[in-house]
Symmetry: C2
Subunit: 156 residues, 2 copies
DNA sequence: GTATGTGCAAATCGTTTGCAAGTCA
DNA sequence: TGACTTGCAAACGATTTGCACATAC
């Protein structure tokens, strides 16, 4: 996991060609401290002072272009963003939304294979990879529902 | 690649618990003939007679629930759908949008590893995996732009 | 001082919902 | 017939755009 201390955030931002404004520094700090990819909404809630959502969208877009952060799609209908650290991916529970972070796996090998086999492409710049499943807790709940003599007892 | 002849589409649809209406049969046929994942817009354009987009959204959603088709995310801001055939994934050119289809690679091994390592999950139900890069054609164009003595000459 | 960043209002786009009418089994 | 489908209108939520003002460097 990439680490950025508060002094270096300023340098990082400037090197990317942006002004080190409070808004951009705050957003980067929030993403850095987050333990999971955040939505625009979640970033907005953590921001103090509050910022217009438009500002957040614009900052995230710029950071993404410079590859400082990356976009993650959990198929929830809205984008999630996280620091673009070393490759790691996620399993998302389709029942409760719980997210587990995965270590690198053998993705690098796979990417090399992919580009070697490709007829049209010569380099890969990014990828998206998420796994969806049902977490153990939800799995148990589901089994309970199926076998329960009284469906009304079961809460979601 | 899974094949469905026109008589069997009806059976497939009924087995999934849906009525074999012209709209659903047409949409399945379109997806079957498509060489790449289609957007709702693209399905709408190919439909004859035309159908309300709402109808297309609803049919695609139902087919997805029954795992007859799958959702593919190219980070283009709208969903793409394709028949849920054997695992294959895509490389998408971030410059021109060109799509190359990949063969299975070593994904199955990887998924087994993933679930073995996971503390919270016991089964995976689906995944998303797309690679983004710059295709050879666009790569050449970009190099031209950089080295060109007259930027105006280069078209996008 | 000037290019860049920000906030506000409004537009846009993909997608979803409610409801009445139509259709398949 | 009756449940499932469809179309239309309208709502919705995420994201984008235009423009005037503010700020970093």
């Amino acid at each position: 996991m990439q680490r950025i201390d508060s002094q270096n955030i300023v340098l990082l931002v400037r090197k990317a060609g942006f002004k080190a404004t409070p808004a951009i520094l705050a957003i980067l700090t929030i993403l850095q401290r987050a333990k999971k990819p955040l939505t625009v909404q979640e970033v907005a809630e953590k921001l103090n002072p509050k910022r217009d959502k438009v500002t957040i969208y614009r900052i995230l877009e710029k950071l993404k272009e410079k590859r400082i952060i990356r976009h993650v799609d959990f198929q929830h209908g809205h984008a999630h963003y996280e620091l673009n650290s070393d490759d790691h991916h996620h399993i998302i529970c389709t029942a409760c939304g719980k997210i587990e972070e995965l270590e690198e796996c053998s993705l690098k090998n796979m990417m090399q294979q992919v580009i070697k086999k490709s007829a049209l492409f010569m380099r890969l710049t990014s990828h998206s990879m998420e796994f969806f499943g049902v977490c153990k807790t939800c799995d148990k709940k589901m089994k309970k529902i199926v076998s329960s003599p009284n469906l009304m007892k079961v809460r979601t």
